[in-house]
Structures are given as structure tokens and as C-alpha cells.
Symmetry: C2
Subunit: 498 residues, 2 copies
């Protein structure tokens, strides 16, 4: 389907239900479809929104365009969970149905207040000249999941920003509510984070741009989050057009984070100290991560696995993208640690121990003869090893998702999807490399869900997340050694659907 402005922004009531039912069936039947991650019921999914804990359940929403693999007229789709793993889709929530969000109920956040969940989001409006007008809107969701929108915008776009002003994160700190927004400065056309304060969520004071770096943050910052992890402030954000000299990255747009030593919100000061801006994910496809401080005292994050302006092979099946698993956040040496949540282990079927076969010490060792398409593999590689772990390998390993590693002097992990089926986004390279500390063991906790791979490295010090679209057929997991012998041990579990 050729997407035009008309078809992207066509009201949902002008799409027909047969088309929607067929799109839903096509997405459900795709061999690439996710089975234990949040995926679009049809069409395109992008940013996670409103990630929160309310009314005894975890809530998350996702940006949805239900009618194809295109960024069209967006709504919030709603899911709930009791354990951050088993999600139930409740369907359409916030929809573009007022003059203030006529061209999309864009991204935002949620905060439980009293017995309701307060939603704050950007209403996207295009005027007749197709000029963008972003409105920062509010809505209340009750315990029956019924949503009532507030009639007026909450925050007026400041004079000092352009119309690139969106993605409000609302949170409580000390005695106030605060909102941060992604913004573009009008004078310099650079990416900024705008900060507002409110006592009542009615009147908001513009505290200006959050001062968190001297470096230029590209031309726009999307999806900023300010959370507290182990009592330190952490900023998670997506700078678009960031110079690679400022922070190296490979994806079209990066998702970055910065750990602070302190934050003084009323002075719009985020004190980074010695910490530097880092890639949140070292894989290919993470963007628009949303994080929040939960009432259980922990901080959780969930990411869009997908990137703006990138086509994916499932576009041909008229659906695109998914959300990552939820990651529990902690800090270690000023760096963010991201770990699977506890309930992920509930998805495991009986485990299968992995260890070298002493009778069969070949350059190639098969770890799992038929892995299927949804599993977890925990694998520890001893220091001073060189080789490649092949996931989703065909019979002769001419096709596989390759994790080439060295745990010796030039320690690194390189993920290559060059031989992993359908190719896409190759202009942004087919490999991602993580430099590692020399002569240390390498601990991998790998989750595969059909077309998604999440690699937690060394207890979550790094995560490498990526989509891949291997050919349909039996798939093995194997190790090939670049040296005489490999020492490793691990466990393999098939994982259940959610």
C-alpha cells in the first residue's frame, strides 16, 4: 500500500472493519510475530506510553496506528499486567477525537493520583497549511479504565521552543508535580529538555531548559524521562541528530542516558558530575524507552523496539515493531544496570544444561539441535576464549544470527545480523560491537522471541536489543571456536507464550 497524507490521517471511522479484521489476522499469523512481548494487534506500534502502577496492576500503553506499517493517525492502546510479564490487551484507550489531538494522541506518561490515573500526552494537530501544533493535554482514567479528557491544554508551548515540543513525562517530586518535555530551541534549533512545575496540575510554571550537559544534543530531543535509580537521578532521552563525536552510536537515532549525582529541579539543574552520556542499549533497534519509579521502590523501563524512519521486513505484512521486555534498573559504578524482571523466569519450561561435550571437542559444537523460536539461553564463556555463538542457525550455519566474541586481550562482543535472513537498515551497518574488559568471563542472558533478540551482557551492564527476520525452518544454536577448545556452561529454556 502506498501511504499518502490522506490515508495516514484518515479518521478511524473511515476505515472499514473488514480491513481491520484482516490486518489483525495477518499480524497474528505472521511467522515473525512475538509471543511473549507486547506487539501490535495490527498495524504499527511505536513508543510505550503511560507506564505505571495503578489500581493494583501494571499499566502500559503503546502508540498505535492500527491500519498498516506506517506512522499515521496515532492512538494509545492499553495493556495491563500483574507481574510485568503477562500482559493483557484492553484495546483502544486515548484516541484522536478532539480538535486538540485531531492528528494523533501522541506520546505521554501516567501518574496515579488519588483513585485515578492521570495521563499527560501531546495532542498533535496539523492546520490547513499542515503546520504542526502540539498541545500538552491531560486526561483521567478511572478504575474501570474509562478515560475522560480535560478540555483545555495544560501547558502552553513556550516562546523559546519551536513546534517540536512533545512527549511530556509527569512525575511527583517533593511537594510538586514536574513535567519534562522534549523540545527544540527556537533560536539555536538544538535539542532541549523543557521543565515545568505545578502544584495542582492546572497552573504550570516554565522552569526553562534542564541543564544537564554542555554538549549540543542534536536538533531535537524526544521522549525524555527523569527517574531516580538507587537514589540518583537518571535521565533517559532520545537526541535526534546528535553528533557522533559527542557520543558514538550506530543507529539512525540513539536512545541515551545520563546518571546524575544530584538534581535541583527548581533551578532546572541536573548535576552529572563525572558521568557521561551513554547508549542505553548497544543493539540495533531500541528507541523511546519509558521508565518510571514504581511504588515497590524499584525503577522499571520498557522500550520501543523499532526506530523512526526505518523500514522493517514485516512492513510487507502490514504490521511493525514491538515493545521490549520490562527491564529493572539499578546502578553500578555510575552505570545503569538493566535486568529482566523476576517473573520472566515464570515463562521457562524445563531447563536443559549446556556444557562442552568432552568426547566431541570439535571446532563446531551444537548446543541445541532445535531451539524453536522462543527461548532463553544463559551462557557463561570463560576468559581467553574466541569464537562465535550462532543463534537461529540453519543446518550448515550459512544462515545465523552471529555473536562473535573474544574474552581475551581484545575482549568484545560483536552481533552481526548480516546472515540472519531478510536484510534491512543495512545503511546503518549489519554489526554492533561492544568493547569488554580484557580477560574476564562473559555472561550472556539471551532472550529470543521469533524476530526479537535481547542480549543481557554481564548481569545487565549492557543490553543489545535487535530485530532479525530469519528464514522459516528448523533452527539450531551452535558455537564455532576460533581456537582449539571453548570452555562454557549454561542453561537453555524454551519459553511460554504470554
Amino acid at each position: 500500500m502506498e501511504w499518502t497524507r490522506e490515508s495516514r490521517y484518515r479518521p478511524y471511522a473511515q476505515w472499514d472493519a473488514k480491513t481491520l479484521l484482516e490486518l489483525q489476522a495477518k499480524a497474528a499469523k505472521s511467522p515473525y510475530q512475538l509471543k511473549y512481548h507486547i506487539r501490535p494487534s495490527s498495524g504499527l506500534l511505536n513508543d510505550p506510553n503511560g507506564f505505571s502502577y495503578f489500581n493494583g496492576k501494571w499499566h502500559v500503553f503503546y502508540q498505535s496506528f492500527p491500519f498498516g506499517a506506517a506512522h499515521g493517525l496515532k492512538s494509545w492502546m492499553h495493556l495491563i499486567s500483574e507481574d510485568l510479564v503477562h500482559w493483557q490487551e484492553l484495546g483502544l484507550a486515548l484516541t484522536p477525537d478532539t480538535p486538540l489531538d485531531s492528528h494523533g494522541a501522541y506520546s505521554g506518561s501516567a501518574l496515579p493520583i488519588g483513585d485515578k490515573l492521570f495521563l499527560m500526552y501531546t495532542g498533535n494537530v496539523r492546520d490547513k497549511d499542515w503546520i504542526r501544533h502540539p498541545y500538552q493535554l491531560g486526561a483521567w482514567m478511572d478504575k474501570n479504565d474509562q478515560i475522560e479528557k480535560l478540555p483545555e491544554p495544560l501547558i502552553t508551548q513556550p516562546e523559546h521552543t519551536t513546534d517540536h515540543f512533545r512527549d511530556p513525562q509527569v512525575f511527583q517530586h517533593n511537594d510538586h508535580y514536574y513535567v519534562i518535555l522534549g523540545a527544540q530551541d527556537k533560536a539555536t534549533k538544538t535539542g532541549k529538555i523543557s521543565l515545568f512545575r505545578s502544584k495542582d496540575l492546572k497552573e504550570f510554571t516554565d522552569l526553562g531548559y534542564l541543564d544537564f550537559t554542555q554538549a549540543e544534543m542534536g536538533y531535537m530531543i524526544e521522549c525524555p524521562n527523569l527517574i531516580f535509580v538507587d537514589e540518583k537521578p537518571v535521565l533517559i532521552f532520545c537526541p535526534q541528530g546528535l553528533a557522533k563525536e559527542t557520543v558514538a552510536y550506530d543507529n539512525i537515532y540513539p536512545n541515551m542516558y545520563l546518571v546524575g549525582s544530584d538534581v535541583v529541579l527548581d533551578e532546572a539543574r541536573f548535576v552529572a558530575g563525572e558521568n557521561t552520556i551513554q547508549n542505553l542499549d548497544d543493539g540495533f533497534d531500541v528507541y523511546a524507552t519509558q521508565a518510571f519509579n514504581a511504588p515497590d521502590g524499584k525503577a522499571y523501563a520498557i522500550s520501543w523496539v523499532g526506530l523512526p524512519d526505518i523500514s522493517y521486513p514485516t512492513d510487507q505484512e502490514e504490521w511493525a515493531n514491538c515493545l521490549s521486555q520490562v527491564k529493572e534498573l539499578s546502578l553500578k559504578d555510575g552505570k545503569l544496570i538493566q535486568r529482566p524482571v523476576k517473573a520472566m523466569a515464570d515463562l521457562r519450561e524445563a531447563g536443559q544444561l549446556i556444557s562442552p561435550d568432552p568426547k566431541n571437542n570439535l571446532a563446531k559444537q551444537q548446543l541445541v539441535a532445535e531451539s524453536g523460536e522462543q527461548y532463553e539461553l544463559k551462557l557463561t564463556l570463560d576468559p581467553d576464549q574466541k569464537g562465535t555463538l550462532h543463534l537461529a542457525g540453519n543446518a550448515d550455519l550459512s544462515q545465523s544470527l552471529d555473536l562473535e566474541f573474544s574474552t581475551g586481550a581484545d575482549a568484545h562482543l560483536t552481533v552481526s545480523r548480516a546472515n540472519a535472513g531478510a536484510q534491512f537498515a543495512t545503511e546503518f551497518k549489519t554489526t554492533r560491537t561492544l568493547e569488554l574488559l580484557a580477560d574476564q568471563k562473559l555472561e550472556l542472558d539471551i532472550f529470543v522471541d521469533h524476530s526479537l533478540c535481547e542480549i543481557f551482557v554481564n548481569g545487565g551492564e549492557h543490553v543489545m536489543t535487535l530485530r532479525f527476520f530469519a528464514d522459516v525452518g528448523p533452527k539450531q544454536i551452535a558455537l564455532t571456536a576460533a581456537q582449539a577448545k571453548l570452555n562454557y556452561r549454561g542453561t537453555f529454556w524454551k519459553l511460554k507464550n504470554i
Copy 2:
């Protein structure tokens, strides 16, 4: 919404997608919504169809009208499972999109043949005078769940039936394929089961009506199934308008079964011997049960929980009905035994033992203070007891689903939904009573899923299935005694979503 002929039979492409998304969200958010049973993604669900094992998975389809709680233009919706418990919806499958099924892809069955699944179903057509024309159609589904319809009807309606001729069950026996269909005899206007034979699924020979009873089977038989259970033939069918003197029943239309000692298909003879026609379910709401012989050597059944011509409280939420859990069939003393499948136990959370509190021997004993809305309760009551088990009870038990029992001389179990929230179908009584053998213990295995209750009695000798719509709020399980002391023991498990 007022349903008219026009709105019931409006093509799906003339419904708008916004309406469908809203209906899906409304169904998902209903407090009555099922969480571990198959339920409509929107609108109305009725008969299970195409229950089968194919391509390494269990398949079932359901009759769907996606646009409200009405019997409108029907499609098959498709689900798959690896364990007969965890079902995944794959969405729209067979749709009414040819001149032979223009008014509905009505009920039918499935049979794996070679590397495809053969679907046989009734195409419902109404002509301009609204005269019904049923066509018995075929289609092939491949391993990618793609369906191709055959261009011509397979079976021509015999001269001796009226246009009430539908619900083909196709099965293999000895060297032939056979098809049975629900039919109305033209001369007598009585319910019949039509039998056909084929060598190739192309040419079919009319073997006449299956001779299985001397009694008159009302004015129409729907959804006939012929299966083999413990090597005996068993007929499961829905006679409409059956005289209550022939077999007693309480529902608007019953779902009956008959165990045979032999069947000679080529002579259209089903030999019942001493066995009589029995209610398949002793509750309020089972109809259109579909059963088949699986390659694991077992016979399985799944039922529509819902009845034709009955309104349910969720009609106001624009969705209706669900499927039962899958029941494994066996025989004992010429009677059908129906048991939960093994994987149902995988839904259990940690169990809680139930036993009388010797220090608190009151006329009322609370078994579970807050049961929630989805659980299994196994309870054994000793002989010579009288009392009532209250499910979904409010604080003072003024509201509850009541299971009044006696295990003494006048042994029986009476289920009453008279005090269980919203009332419906009350013209067919608010109680169902099962006579039991005197002075025996009573073993109950009860499954509650929000608005559904399935009671397996004495190891599946009887099943009582019913919908109920209790008020929202905390719910207790309690026993009230009609005698000094009750002796019982059991286990309570909360159950997971599927």
C-alpha cells in the same frame, strides 16, 4: 442498538473500524470477561467449529459476529493451542465472501488430510425473498493458516430434507470419509441426522438418515457429532423442539448424547442397545458441543456456553458468550465421563487446603475469604450431609451462586443462580437439579472464570455449566449447613490467565 435484518447482514466492509476497535476494547474491559476460556474478541461468539489437531497444534474456530451481541453475518475465528488450554487467537479465518456463503460461513468441522486441514462448513445464503439456501462447502487450510475455498458445493441438499440442513461433521472411518449433517425431514418436519459417504471428498453418496432412535427428535437437529469413545460410537447432538417426555431437560434447547454399542455407517445404523439419550450437560448454558477423535487416541469436546434465542446481561456491553474448557471424554457404565484436560492444572497458583475448622463449628463456615473471579475449587463432601456451598458470595451471603446439596437419602445437587447477580433466562427456571446416588460422597471440581462456572461432579460423571453475572465486589466462598456439622475437605487454587 436495535438490530435489523440490514444491520445483522451488513457486509463487514460496510462497518467502520472505529466501531470495531471500540467494541473490542469494551469486551476486553468488561468485568464479566473470561480470562482462561475462549471468548469473543468482540461481538457474539457461538458454535465451536473445526476442532482438530493439525500441523503439531490444536485448532479450534468459533462462529463470530464481530459487531455486537446479535446473530448476524457469521465468520470463523481461528485459535491455536499446544496444550488445549493456552489458546492464541489468530483472527478471522473463513469469511462470508462468496455467493455460496453470502449470509454466513456457518458451522462445520475439520479433518487433517495430507499436509492440509480440510474444512467443511455450511454456506448460508438468503435469496431476495429471504428464503434460506444452505450449501455444504469445503476449503483447504495450509500450514501457514491460509485458507482456499473450493468453488463448488460438496453435497447437494437431498430432496427429502427442508432447507434446515447444516453443520457438517466430516470424519474418516475404515476406507471412507463420512459426513453427518443436522437436518429437518421434509415430510414429517422432524429432526434428523443425514449421513453421506465419499471416497475422495468430491463425490458423495447419500446414505439417508442415521437410524439411532425410534423417538421423534423435535423439529430439527443441530450440530451432530459422531465420535468413538473407548471404542464405542457416541452421538452428540442438539435436538430442537424435543418433547420433554422423550428426555427431560430444562434449557430452551438441549445438547444430548447417546452411547452406541455399534455403528454400521454404510447401513446408516447406530445401535444404541440399552443406552438412552442423555443430557450432555446438567447446567444452564451448554449447546453446540463439538467433539473429535484426536491422534493421541483420546476424544475431546468443547462447547458453546450460550444458547440460541437467549439474551445475556453482556448484551448491553455488545459482546456475548464464550466456549467451555476442553473436556476429555471417556465411558463408564454406558455413560459419558467428561474431565478437564491435564494442562488445566498448569493454570493453578499455589493451592490452599480446605477443611472444617474444629474450633469454629458454626452453621456457616467461610472456606475462602476472597476468592477473586478465577479459580478452581475441589471439594469432597462426605455421605449424609446437607447444606449449601456459596460461590461468589457477598459479605452476608444475600448474594451468591448457590450449590445446595444432600448426600443422604434424597441425594441431589441443585445449582441456583436466583441470587447470583443480574437475572436472565428466568423463564427457563433459575435452578438445575442433578439427582445423585444416595449415601455416597460428593466430589466437586469447580472452575470459575468471572461469569462462567463449570462444575465437574463425581469425576466427570456429570458437568453443570453456567454463566452468572454477580455484582462487582469482593467475593467469598462459604458453606452453610442444614445440619449440625459438615464434613468436607478440598483444595482451592487461583487460576492464571491464558
